[in-house]
Structures are given as C-alpha cells and as structure tokens.
Symmetry: C2
Subunit: 487 residues, 2 copies
C-alpha cells in the first residue's frame, strides 16, 4: 500500500488551530450533541456527563481523555495477508465509491443491480491502486431488501481478498457482518487480534447521532471492528456557510462519536471521518470537487493529526453527470489535496459520479489513472550524484539529443510514469485509431479488466460455511430463499 | 491580479538543494554553454570568461554576480494602468496558450487563422482570470510570413489593454515590437520606466542558445523590455531521463542566459523560465500534465526563489486531442502545482490542447474554470470568532437545517465559489436541458464571451500611428500591402 513520505501541506496557523479548538469545546459543552440511542446516552451519563433526554453536554477534557484511548494507527486484516492495510501514520489506503443507487456505463444510466455490485468489487480487486474491496460499491435494487447486506458482504468476502467494509443499517446487520468475518478469518480470536472490517458510521449532522447507525457502531466497537465516525457536512445544509464553523462542528461531532467508541470498548479502532463539501447556493444541489471542499480537506488532516487519530476523507468527488472534463477536474481537485493532506483512509477513490448517485465504469478508470499519477508524484525525489546523471550531460553536450544516450537506454523502461488511460498519440495516429476520447477508452479498459478478472482462491469449506450462513439468515430475516451465487 | 498568500509547498531538502547547486556549477564550468551569437560570446569573453568558439565556460561565482543584478520583482506596464502586472514576489500573472499552429472548435480542427488569433486575444481580454493578452496565441497561417509579427502585435495592442508578449523570431522583429510599444505608450521614456512587453526566449536545450532568439533578446534587454529565459526541456529528448539531472541543466541554462542579460544591460527585467515535461518513452511523443512535470514545477519554484528571481512555469498543459477528461486532469495536474509553487508568470494558462499544437476554444473555458477555482482555493482561510458563526449553531442546534438560518441568509450570495462552467444540475433537469457535457457547455460560453466582447478604447491618433507603422514596415519587409483591420 502507499506510504506518503512527502511533506504535509498545512495551512492553519497555531492561532487558527487554537481558535478552532475553542470552537468545538464551546459546541459540545454549551450546545451538546444528541445521541438517539438510549444505550449511548447511558454510557455518557454513567461517565459523569450531563444529560438532558437524548442530548449530552460534554466536558471537552473528558472527550479528550476518551479520544486519547483510541489507537493512533492499526492494522486492518485482509484474508490475503499481503493485502492487510495499515490505517494511520503516513499510510494511505483507498476504497472505491460507496453508496450509489445508480450505475452508468457508456450512455446507459439505470438502477444498480447485484451484477454491478459484483463488477465493482472485481474492479477493486483487479487494480493494485485500490486497497479495500469497499462496502456498498453500489446499492443493488434487485436483491431482497432485508437480507441484501448478506449478499453484499458475501460478494466482498469472496470476489476480493482485500479488506472490506461492513453493513451499518442496524445492529443486526452489523452482527451478521461480524459473524461472517469470524467464518472467513477462522473464529473470534482473529477479530480480537486486529479488525477484519471497517464500517462507515455517519453523523446525522448537525450534532445528532442516529439510533440505527449508533446501534451498529456499538456492535462493531465491542467486537474490535474498526469504524469511521464521519460527520456528513454539506455546508449550507448540515452546517453553516463557513469553512471554520464547519470545521469546529466536524470536530464536535467526530470527537463525540469517537469518545463513545472508547467508552464502549477502550482502545477499539476508530477513524476520524470527514465528508465535507458545500451546497450550490443557486440550485440548492450539493457541489463536489469544490475549492471549499479542498480547503476543508487540508484543514481536516492538520486537525486529525493534532488529536493523533487516523483520519478519513477525500476521494474522486464530482457533481458531473458524465465522465467528462468537469468530472476529471473536480475529481482531481479533491484527490490532489487528499495526497497533500495525507488522508489515511480514502473512500470514493474510484467510480464516483453525479454527486455520488452513480457508480460509473468509465469514471472508475479515470480515477485509477489519477491515483496512479498521484502515487507516482508523491514519492520523494532522490537527488544524488547518480540521479544527477552527469555522464549523460558529458556524453550529449550542447545541442545534442538524449534519446540515444547510454543513460537513457539504461533507464527508459522505468524512468517515467506510464499511463494506463491517457493518450499521447499524435492527431493523425489517434484519428486513424478511431479518435476515441478518454471516456470511450476508459470504458474499454473497464471491460477488459472485468474480462481478465480472476477470482482469488478461497477454501471450499469456508465458502460453504459462508453460503450456509447467508441462506439461513435470509430465511430468518423473512426473505425468500434464492440460489447461492456461482462464485 | 492574484497574490498567492498561501504557503509554498517545497519538497527539496537543504541537502538536495546543495546537491543541485553543485550540479549546475559543474555543468557551466566543465561542459560550458553554447551561445550561437558571436556578440553574446563577446560579452562573456570581455567579462573574463573562457571561450572556445561558441562555447562559454562559466565561472559559477561570476554567473551569480550577474544574476544578482537582475531585479527580484518588477512592474510590467499595461496601456490601461489598472491592468499593469507585478512580476515576482507572491504575485501570479496568467497568460493564455502560446504558439499553436492549429485551432480546435467543437469537432473542427484546422489551420489557425488571423481571425482565431484575434478571438483568443478577445477571450484573454474578457476574462479577469487572464492578466496578459499573451503573445502568439495562435500562429496564423493566413497572414504574410515576414510581416506577421506586426499584425499580431497590433492585434495584441488594440484588442486588449493588458500587457502583451513580443516577437522573438529575430532582432528586427524585436525592434518592431519595441517601436510599436513606444507608439502605444507615448515614447521611449515610458519603456525606460518599466517594461511594456515581456518576451519568451527559449534555450535550444541542451546547453545551446540560438542566434536568432539571442539577437532578439539583446534588443529587448537594451530597451529595458522583460524577457523570460526558458530552457525547453522534454526529458529524454532535450535532457536526461532524470528530474534532478534536468533541474541542474535547467539551472545551468536559465542562469547562463540571465547572466547574459545582465551583461548587456545591468538591472534589466528578466524571468527564470521553466518548461519541463517528459517524453513518452513508448511512443516518443511529448507528454504533458505528467507527475514528473508537477514535481519539476514544485522544485523549480524553490530553486528560482533561492536565486531571488521571478520565475515562469506551469499552465494547463495536456497531451489530449480533445477537451475531455484527460485534458482536464492533466491541465489541473500542472495548474494545481503551479499554485502550490507560486509561479510568478504562467504561460499556457488557458486554451492549450494536443501537446500545444492546438488552441482550443472549449479548453480555454475549462482552464478559466480551473483558474477561478484555484484562485478561490488559494486564499488564506480566515479563522476568527466571526467565521466560527456560533450564532448559526445556536440557532439551528441538533438535527436541524442551515438553509434558512439567519447566518446563511446573510452570506449565501458570496459564501462559496460560484462556477462558470461546472454543472450541479440533477440528472433529470440536466437531461431535460439537453444533456450537454462540459465541452459542449464550454463551447457555448466561449461563443457568448466573444459575442459580448467590447474592445477597450484607444486613442484614434495612437491607433493610426500604429497602423501607419505596420503598413510601412510591411512594405519594407517585402510583403504585399493589405488593408488595416477594422479594429
């Protein structure tokens, strides 16, 4: 996986950091945070925090004491140990898009199906730029609703051997994810060593944690499974129309959620989450890949590091309806700051289109190219006598050409980034080859990748046990039985 | 114009900087630099440098003594004083694409005409994101070759009231540019106060300055007109396949050229130029918007600042054949580092397509949007009690919505970046409105901008004098007379 050894680009002065620090303290202590799950409120009350109904008024020092119990870095296990992820420090892990109910392929846009879900898991498995199989890579509408999470977890576990994300709809779904993790990893002991799943717990911003997601979170905390406590902030809707105001709200929400995890299970793995963009105040629609979102990203990295917490943000976000120029510049407008800020866990890193409503096959490949470029770019430059290549200058001298120089012949295969998708063909050759634009070429690469996909091997007994679990639970949940998938 | 008050992103350690410093010193002293103009060699020889034919072996300390005479910042005058540019320091000035022989509009790609030249000058005049009228915004093939520079300078001077770039084909062309500057600015005295033109002097890399460009440069130096000494470096062709080796070559070339300017006219305005990308080693074609180019850009900023020189680099570079996703991510992959590195003079900031062979109307608008976003992004974040907007949090509390909050209503018009080109329309509305992708929308905006263009006022007598000059010189240069343009 990628380790970002380049400098962090930090834009907040010490004074600004102090002002933000005062801001979140005031919010949690004076305004409080709502936890819509009584069990969660109990945890805080028993720990001596003031409670009014669902609202908890938090002592900032108490919050920081809890937060300090969370690990600053942890391992996230993959069933293939080579794909285990390190979350925190200088490491950056990438997962594909999460949540879209629609799929786009070429000019076709429609409801996402389970076949699409499987395809996006296959894409994530195929590209080394992607470290996690993801979670809800699409929301498949053609599987039974109550047991859909079982089909998704099964596909993530079997079509990929990278770490996956769990279901967060309810405590019951979280327990299913955990049980299936035990089956895949050979028992509860493995989960105790290090998490085998990471799950996205969104805050119902502003300042409210909902009961269903909280109940799922508590299950994961108790089972030592990682969670990402993420304020969901579209400025102008879920937070004020101000980046600093939104940052302190984000701190108040994320830190209060993280404090809860540590009350439930001290030392359990948790990630400071950020999903911060703004509303288009003309249309009322959410905007992505905006300057505000990039600024927020840079600040969030600096803030999360100040609490010594691993953090999640970034991705290839865009509002664009097609994988066109806007989709590309907005995606990079988010992804380059993601690298500058050194986000540890990056969701939506590939395939996000149309404000997150659509998983796009073509955009997936565009994003993979962007990731490949940035991973190349964010490697420290080695400046030494060897890389000065003085011999090449001695050989070529003035007015010559380096194409045939000995140093060039020695290094030409590996000296530069080699694109997957980008074309440098001259116009005549490009035209003669059909004049396909980037989106069209991306569609071809996506299809070729799926055609060449090979399922990672899995023990037959483990697979059968997973299938049995899914079949049994589906009936218990009241859905009609369906045949197990062929994989 | 834009002042970049954000931190610079510097990636070279002190040790790396020292290694690079040793590198350029070795090149200029041991390998030497060729100056193909005898007059230039004379300057160096008279100043005590060792010379063999066209090759000058430079004492690095002597080079630095000359370089120290160059101003670290200077004003570049516009005929409209409000558009005068500051070159250096934290200022960033932007000029459109330079040099393309072809033009692309929609699916039409063809030879560039004078009408296109005029259009791209009009676009540069229309957008406040562009600070300079540019120079060879296209290379128009339908005007007489020997007097073409007169038509171009006339169009730059009259269709725009922003600073322009001069002709560099020969000493005679440079003198024409200077004479026309005197006419426009009311005499030689104005040019002595501060330059009224800036001209691009490319090195014929590796390590050779050609006679024609040098002879043009010397004319500009003597007339106190700004020049940009730019090594032209496609790694693998004009420099070794190594970023550090290319950086030291760039230092050797740029500093030797700048030393010459200061021998000719101590204190004359000069810019440390950089045009650094790499060859696609598979196709042999030049690549743009690459990771290597971004790294080179970041390093060049740090290097130029160490010599206390204003510097030029960056732009919206791409190899893509159309204004598609690749064009956008490659352009931003260069332009975002341009801001991180704080380039002072940015050529090719709008309209560049197909490796610089094409000026694209649609890409121009894509780049304008990118510039607008980055100028918004690279403004320091004001973190204070007012921007914390605690009142908004008090008003909305938990689980509410900020759209109707008093703070939102007070700030919604100006709180966020407002796009020119990007769409946040939901899919249904976007489809109903025709489903135009970004390139199509950009084409419309370009046309609307040209339709709405208003020529900046110019004194009739000055215009007539410029016309007379062009007409007289055209005949002297042996071209057939043609009617003066309508503007």
């Amino acid at each position: 996986m990628f380790v970002n050894e380049m400098p962090r680009y930090e834009i907040l002065s010490e004074e600004a950091m102090n002002t933000l620090d005062r801001g979140w303290r005031r919010i949690v202590s004076e305004l409080g945070v709502e936890f819509m799950l009584p069990e969660a409120v109990d945890y805080f009350e028993k720990a001596g925090q003031r409670v009014e109904d669902n609202k908890v008024f938090l002592d900032p020092e108490f919050v920081l004491e809890q937060v300090a119990k969370a690990p600053s870095e942890f391992e996230l296990q993959a069933r293939n140990p080579e794909n285990t992820i390190h979350v925190g420090g200088s490491s950056m892990a990438f997962a594909g898009v999460y949540g879209p109910p629609f799929v786009r392929k070429g000019v076709e846009r429609g409801d996402a199906k389970m076949a699409d879900f499987e395809n996006f898991v296959r894409l994530g498995q195929s590209f080394p730029e992607i470290d996690s199989a993801g979670g809800t890579v699409v929301e498949p509408e053609d599987t039974p609703l109550d047991s859909r999470h079982l089909d998704m977890v099964y596909a993530l576990q079997t079509l990929s051997d990278k770490p996956y994300m769990g279901s967060v709809i309810s405590a019951e779904n979280a327990r299913d994810t955990i049980e299936m993790g035990k089956i895949l990893f050979g028992g509860a002991e493995a989960l105790g060593r290090a998490p085998v799943s990471i799950s996205l717990i969104n805050c119902n911003s502003p300042l409210r944690w909902d009961d269903r997601m909280l109940s799922a979170m508590l299950e994961y905390n108790r089972a030592n499974q990682a969670v990402v406590c993420t304020p969901f902030l579209l400025m102008g809707a879920m937070s004020p129309v101000s980046v600093p105001a939104t940052l302190v709200q984000q701190m108040a929400e994320a830190l209060s959620g993280i404090a809860l995890t540590q009350l439930v299970q001290p030392g359990c793995p948790v990630v400071f989450g950020s999903f911060l963009s703004n509303t288009d105040m003309q249309s009322g629609s959410p905007s992505f890949g905006t300057p505000e979102s990039a600024i927020g990203l840079l600040c969030t990295g600096q803030i999360a590091r100040s609490f010594d917490l691993p953090w999640r943000s970034g991705g290839g976000l865009t509002s664009s309806q097609t994988p066109d120029a806007q989709a590309a510049y907005e995606a990079l407008m988010t992804m380059l700051p993601t690298f500058l800020a050194g986000a540890n866990f990056v969701m939506h890193a590939a395939g996000w289109l149309e404000g997150g409503l659509v998983s796009s096959y073509e955009k997936y490949i565009v994003d993979i190219e962007i990731l490949r470029m940035l991973k190349h770019e964010f490697k420290p430059l080695e400046v030494n006598e060897e890389t000065l290549a003085y011999g090449a200058h001695q050989e070529v001298g003035s007015g010559g050409h380096f194409l045939g120089a000995a140093h060039t012949l020695e290094h030409f295969r590996t000296c530069f980034y080699r694109p997957l998708l980008s074309s440098t063909e001259n116009f005549d050759r490009w035209s003669k080859n059909g004049g396909a634009d980037t989106a069209e070429r991306a569609g071809r690469i996506a299809q070729e990748t799926l055609d060449g996909y090979e399922q990672p091997p899995i023990d037959d007994a483990v697979r059968d046990e997973l299938r049995d679990y899914v079949a049994r639970r589906r009936i218990e949940l009241g859905d009609e039985p369906i045949p197990s998938p062929a994989f």
